[in-house]
Amino acid sequence: MIKVSGLRKLYGDTVALDGVDLHVREGEIHGVLGRSGAGKSTLLRCVNLLERPTEGTVTVAGQELTALPGRELNLARRRIGMIHQHFALLSSRTVAGNVAFPLEVMGVPRAERRRRVAELLDLVGLGGRGGDHPHQLSGGQKQRVGIARALAGDPAVLLSDEATSALDPATTRSILDLLKRLNAELGLTILLITHEMNVVKSVCDSVAIMAAGRVEESGRIADLIRTPGSRLTKEIFPLPDPAPPGSVTLTFTGDPQRPLVSEVARKFDVEISILGGSVEELPGGSAGRLRVAVSGETGPALAYLRERGLLVEVAS
C-alpha cells in the first residue's frame, strides 16, 4: 500500500534520511520506531510529500507521488489522512467545522458535509460535541477530532506522527484502541511513527527501527522476534547486554503456558537455572524471552528446544 524506495533527504549538510526503503502492506499497522532525531518525522512527511525527498520514490495505493505535478498531488493527498502530535486543529472553528474542513477542500456540498461530519464524529466517539470549540476538549478528545478529520476523505492510508506522545497513558491507550478498531473495521492501513516501544508493542503488526536516517531492521514483529540478534527483541525484552558467557537466551512465540523448561529438565540430564526473562502480549500473540544457565547434557537439550521452534542463542 505504501512503498518507499531509496529515500534520501538532505537539509543543507544534515542527512535526515540516508537511503530508506519501507514497505507497508495493505491493512496492516506499521510502526516506525526510533529516538528523537532519527528521521522518523521526515520519513512520514516524505510519504505525503510535505517534504520533497532529495532522492528516491514514494508510491501510495499504486500511485507514484514523487512523479505527480502539484495539482494532482493535492488530489492524491486527499486519500491520505494524517494525524499530528499536537493535533493541529483550527482554533477558529468548532469541532464540526474542523472535521468539515477537508470536505470543503474536496468541494463536498453543504448538506452532504453535515451528514458526513455527524457520521465521523459518531465513529470516533464524539457524537454531539460538534458545536464545541477545540479549547473545550481534552487532549484525547482533540486527537479524536484529528482522527475524524483525517478520515473525512475516506482515505486508504492514515499517517500518524507521534499521535499519542502528548497524551497520558490511559488516553494513549484509548486512542490506540480507536486506531486498532479503525484498522479492523475499515481496513485502514496505518503508518505510525513513535519513540515509544509501548505503542509498537500494543498495536503494530510490523515495525521498522530507525536510527540516524536509516532503517536498521524491519519486518513483521513475530518474524523479527525470531531473528537472531534483533534490536527489537532486545528492546521489548530487556535483559543484561551482553549476555554472561555461557548463558543461553531462549525466545519463544505462541503459548507461554507450555512447560518447556521442566520438560527439558525431565527428558535430559541438565540443570537449568533462570537468570531473567519476561513475557509480553503482542498483537500477533504472546512472546517471551528467558535467559538461563544450563549445565550437563546441554547439546541435545538445546537441539530439542530448537526443534520446538524456539530461538536459542548461546553467549560465548
Binding site: L50, L75, A88, V105, G153
Partner: protein
C-alpha cells in the same frame, strides 16, 4: 467661548476626523492586508517562497515605515494630486494617511499571520488544500484576533496622523485644537478637544480589545 459656540465646531471637526480616519482605514486594510499576506507567503519557507520578491516588499515597507509622517505627507503631494486631483480637503488627506498606514498595518498583519502554527498549515497541506484555500480558510481566520488587535492599533495611529494631516486642509479635531487653542488662545476649546480625542481613542482601543479577546478561543 461658550459651550454653545464650541459644540458645533467640535461636532463638525469630529465628523471630519471620522471621515478621514474611516476612509483611510478602509484603504489601509484594502492594501495593507494583501501586502502583509504577501510578506508571509513569499518568505523563505512560506507557502510560495519567492525570497527576492519578499525582500523587495520588505524594503518598500521599511522605507514607508521610517519616514516621519509629516515628511511623507509633503513628499507625496504630487502623488496625492494625481490620485484625487487636489491637495486640499478631506479626500486629499486620505491619500497620505493611507500611504503612511499601509506599511505599518502590513507589518502588524505579517506578525499576526506568523503566530499561526506551522503544524496547522501543514495539516491543511496534507489534506490537499490549495494555497489560496490555506490563506483564506486557515491563515486569515486563525490570525483574526491578532488582525483585529493590529487594526485597532492602526486606527489609533491614524487618528494621531489625521490630527497632523488636518492642518494641511483636512480639518478635524487636531486642526481645531491647533487653530483655536494654539493660534487664538482658546485654551478651553483646546482642552475639550484633547479630552474628546482621548475618549475616542480609549473607546476604540477598548472595543478592539473586547473583539480580539472574544475571537481568541484558545
Amino acid at each position: 467661548m461658550t459651550w454653545d459656540e464650541m459644540a458645533p465646531l467640535l461636532w463638525e471637526a469630529a465628523g471630519q476626523t471620522a471621515q478621514m480616519v474611516g476612509w483611510s482605514t478602509l484603504f489601509t486594510v484594502l492594501f495593507g492586508l494583501p501586502l502583509g499576506v504577501a510578506l508571509v507567503v513569499f518568505d523563505r519557507g512560506g507557502l510560495l517562497p519567492l525570497p527576492a520578491l519578499k525582500a523587495v516588499l520588505g524594503v518598500v515597507v521599511n522605507v514607508g515605515r521610517s519616514l516621519p509622517f509629516i515628511v511623507l505627507m509633503i513628499a507625496i503631494i504630487p502623488f496625492t494630486r494625481l490620485v484625487v486631483g487636489t491637495t486640499l480637503g478631506t479626500a486629499a488627506v486620505v491619500v497620505p494617511l493611507t500611504v503612511g498606514a499601509v506599511p505599518f498595518f502590513a507589518r502588524l498583519v505579517e506578525a499576526a499571520l506568523r503566530e499561526v502554527g506551522a503544524d496547522v498549515v501543514q495539516a491543511a497541506q496534507a489534506m490537499g488544500a490549495s494555497r489560496t484555500t490555506i490563506v483564506g480558510k486557515v491563515l486569515l481566520p486563525e490570525a483574526l484576533p491578532g488582525l483585529v488587535a493590529g487594526l485597532t492599533v492602526t486606527v489609533v495611529a491614524l487618528i494621531g496622523y489625521s490630527a497632523m494631516a488636518g492642518t494641511v486642509g483636512g480639518g478635524g479635531l487636531g486642526d481645531l485644537a491647533v487653530r483655536y487653542g494654539y493660534q487664538r488662545f482658546e485654551t478651553l476649546l483646546m482642552i475639550v478637544t484633547v479630552v474628546v480625542l482621548v475618549v475616542i481613542v480609549q473607546l476604540i482601543q477598548s472595543l478592539g480589545d473586547v473583539v480580539a479577546r472574544r475571537l481568541a478561543r484558545k
